[in-house]
């Protein structure tokens, strides 16, 4: 634990915390300085996250806080999976913070601090190897998300925020019950230690452990947005300020990440009688979430709601894929997770730019006419057969919208297609590696749902896109600044990179998935005696 | 004699718990809001006494500060309630 590089592991938590705290000393007039600090920190986070991504490719990094050995002290663990999540978070954060500089960070107090604290919570949740510490970081990220969800105030946000907070407070209580029950039965909070203790549990204790884990799971799935615990999500996300909503698109993934991690760690193949506990429910829930997300996507009148329901589709897809399991499917699910999160982030930001030029009433009426009364009537004889020059702003916005639509619907050429393909290919590959073999009925259902969700998303996105970009008579061209468009473009470019570099990325994801499926290495790394740590404390007098 | 002491402490705790029962009767029944606050205040004092008896019963001074907190700061809640009843507002 001597080299400075070791401390890199905790930087994703400490840096935003310290930066957020420093910002409190700067008053609102120094907003430029605040913004600079925030952007600087976020850029640093991106760098650190990529560094950790590289490190984790070699070995699982463990950071023992306070120098205490593993099951007793809190440990931070970075393996490939965690590193991927860190990178995703930091990229999304960077895009979102740059976007916010155009106007949103002026909409209320302490935007930058709360933003950084949210990053701290997210990174902490991804890194920690301790259940209760996980609760704490969950609370940090939730607290910050409450603040950010309410950023800008206003009746819609406050109403949505009230629901969001109430539901999540109830969820946090469940979280506590679950974690403490697990502790009461096993006597430990360390995830790796827990994994070693579970196989040895007696039957009657196992029952309580499963109950505890089930309650904990519900708390996590609530945050992931599984149906029928997902109704808070569209309300909150659609009401949130757009850079906030963009960053929020990672938040459901925290729940998913933890479900994946804990499920395979605690109830993996080696966990004795509890192996794969709850898997069928997870699959059902995930598929129901996709279905509900699809319904929501189709029934959305406003783009914000559409995007929020796309979040549910994404969540459901990943959850169901995790439940189906297998290294290949999970690896693909991770790829899909990254791709869809980036796309959603871009889309949430884009929505604001797109909707800037229109008024609500006109919009609603247009939807009503177009979608309720069927197609518009048109007269073949008098079409205006000279194209309209599209202002550059609209052209760029339109291209970005198209990109988002393709990504979310899973159509080529962007990574959405690759993600869905890899997911489904891995799914079908599961039956028998390298050839024909039986594929479970549930897998067929999942395949069908994924395909249908893509089509439904496309239909809804086309409807919306046509409404916004093509039915544009009398529409004001929105004023869009470069720093607003650049983050959207950057996220979409990231998706292009994902498409082109699909091979290497996918092999990293598969390796991540493999290490999650074979947690022995994780457990060993965490529980290993610290290399040269003798109690540094108690140096005596 | 220690049995007498132990027994009397147990009885004292029962008496105090009964006192608390009376106090919550006022808290629930009222009839005035002030009655409820009064009951609440009495509940706190009785609770403090109960904490002291727990200390004696277990022979530990570690519970003393808890009782002290009630004596020193327990009234903040009741005074805020009282002021709320008085002025409709706690801080003006």
């Amino acid at each position: 634990m001597t080299s400075a590089i070791q401390h890199l592991l905790i930087v994703p938590i400490l840096l935003p915390l310290a930066a957020g705290a420093v910002l409190l000393f700067i008053d609102e007039r120094g907003r430029g300085l605040k913004a600079a600090i925030n952007v600087g920190s976020t850029v640093a986070l991106v760098v650190v996250a990529f560094a950790l991504l590289t490190l984790a490719g070699n070995r699982t990094g463990v950071y023992r806080l306070g120098g205490w050995p593993a099951p007793f002290g809190i440990v931070l663990v970075v393996d490939r999976l965690a590193a991927v999540m860190l990178v995703l978070t930091s990229l999304l954060a960077l895009a979102s913070v740059v976007f916010s500089l155009a106007r949103w960070h002026r909409a209320g107090r302490h935007f930058h601090s709360m933003f950084l604290f949210l990053l701290m919570g997210l990174n902490g949740a991804f890194l920690t190897g301790d259940l209760f510490n996980l609760f704490v970081f969950f609370e940090v990220l939730l607290a910050a998300s409450y603040g950010l969800a309410l950023h800008g105030s206003g009746v819609t946000r406050v109403k949505a925020g009230l629901h969001y907070i109430a539901v999540n407070l109830a969820g946090s209580l469940l979280f506590l019950i679950g974690v403490s029950l697990i502790y009461g039965v096993t006597g430990t909070l360390n995830m790796a230690d827990l994994a070693t203790r579970i196989p040895q549990l007696s039957t009657d204790n196992r029952m309580l452990l499963e109950t505890g884990t089930a309650i904990l799971g519900i708390a996590l799935l609530l945050k992931a947005g599984i149906w029928p615990l997902s109704f808070w999500l569209p309300t909150t996300y659609s009401a949130a300020a757009s850079p906030v909503a963009a960053l929020f698109s990672i938040m459901t993934k925290v729940g998913i990440y933890l479900v994946l991690r804990l499920w395979l760690l605690l109830f993996g193949a080696g966990s004795g009688a509890s192996a794969h506990f709850g898997g069928n429910w997870l699959l059902l829930g995930g598929m129901a979430t996709i279905a509900f997300g699809v319904i929501g996507v189709l029934s959305s009148r406003r783009l914000g709601w559409l995007a929020a329901y796309c979040v549910l589709v994404s969540t459901g897809t990943v959850l169901a894929a995790i439940a189906i399991g297998g290294i290949g499917v999970t690896g693909s699910a991770l790829f899909y997770l990254v791709s869809s999160t980036l796309a959603l982030g871009a889309f949430f930001m884009l929505i604001e730019l797109v909707e800037r030029g229109r008024t609500r009433q006109v919009d609603a009426i247009a939807v009503a006419r177009e979608t309720i009364d069927g197609a518009e009537e048109h007269d073949m004889s008098e079409p205006e057969e000279i194209g309209i020059t599209i202002p550059a702003t609209m052209a760029v916005l339109g291209m970005a919208f198209l990109g988002c639509a393709l990504l979310l619907a899973g159509l080529p050429p962007l990574s959405g297609f690759i993600a869905k393909f890899s997911l489904l290919a891995a799914l079908l590959d599961l039956g028998a590696p390298g050839g024909a073999g039986p594929v479970a009925t549930s897998s067929w259902a999942f395949l069908a749902l994924v395909i249908v969700s893509g089509l439904a998303t496309l239909i809804a996105m086309t409807r919306a896109g046509i409404r916004v970009f093509w039915r544009s008579s009398g529409r004001v061209v929105p004023r869009v600044r470069v720093i607003e468009m650049a983050p959207v473009a950057a996220l979409l470019c990231a998706c292009v990179v994902l498409t082109i570099e699909a091979g290497p990325v996918m092999s990293y994801m598969r390796a991540a998935s493999r290490s999650v499926y074979q947690p022995q290495n994780y457990v060993r790394s965490v529980l290993a005696a610290p290399a040269e740590h003798e109690p540094a404390n108690g140096s005596g007098s | 004699m220690t049995n007498v002491l132990a027994g009397s402490l147990a009885i004292a705790q029962i008496l105090l718990a009964l006192a608390m029962t009376c106090a919550i009767y006022r808290m629930i029944r009222g009839p005035r809001a002030q009655d409820r606050v009064l009951g609440f205040d009495a509940l706190y004092v009785d609770g403090m006494l109960l904490l002291l008896t727990i200390g004696i019963r277990t022979g530990s001074t570690l519970y003393f500060e808890t009782a002290l907190v009630i004596a020193l700061l327990g009234f903040i809640g009741t005074v805020a309630l009282a002021k709320f009843l008085m002025r409709g507002e706690v801080i003006e």
Binding site: - | A12, M20, R32, Q34, L38
Partner: protein
């Protein structure tokens, strides 16, 4: 309670008596809270527990721990002091508010003694 075995019997009896007296006073006060008919009377009742009741138990505690710890334990005084200082603040505001309302609603003239609704 193991340590209590080292107490002299008379001290044990004294402590027991003090504790019982204190708790009894507190209960009496609480009963008053139950039995008095008007609010203004009820306010008097808990004072029993808050003054002498507390005092008895505090003294019992002081004796007990002083004897056991074989050094004077007197920090219980603080409880008595703080309780004495803080109780009036609450009660005065409570009674004041009640009186004001009663006067406003003409339930009492200057010397109110009516029943609550």
């Amino acid at each position: 309670m193991n340590a209590a075995a080292s107490l002299p019997p008379w001290l044990a009896l004294l402590i027991a008596a003090l504790v019982l007296l204190g708790a009894g006073l507190a209960l009496t006060g609480a009963l008053g809270l139950l039995r008095f008919k008007s609010f203004y009377e009820r306010v008097h009742a808990p004072t029993l527990g808050a003054t002498l009741g507390t005092g008895c138990i505090l003294i019992a505690s002081m004796i007990y721990f002083s004897v056991l710890g074989s050094r004077p334990v007197v920090h219980e005084i603080l409880i008595a002091v703080f309780l004495t200082i803080t109780t009036p603040a609450t009660l005065m505001l409570l009674v004041r508010a009640a009186l004001f309302r009663d006067r406003a609603e003409r339930r009492v003239a200057t010397a109110p003694d009516g029943e609550d609704k």
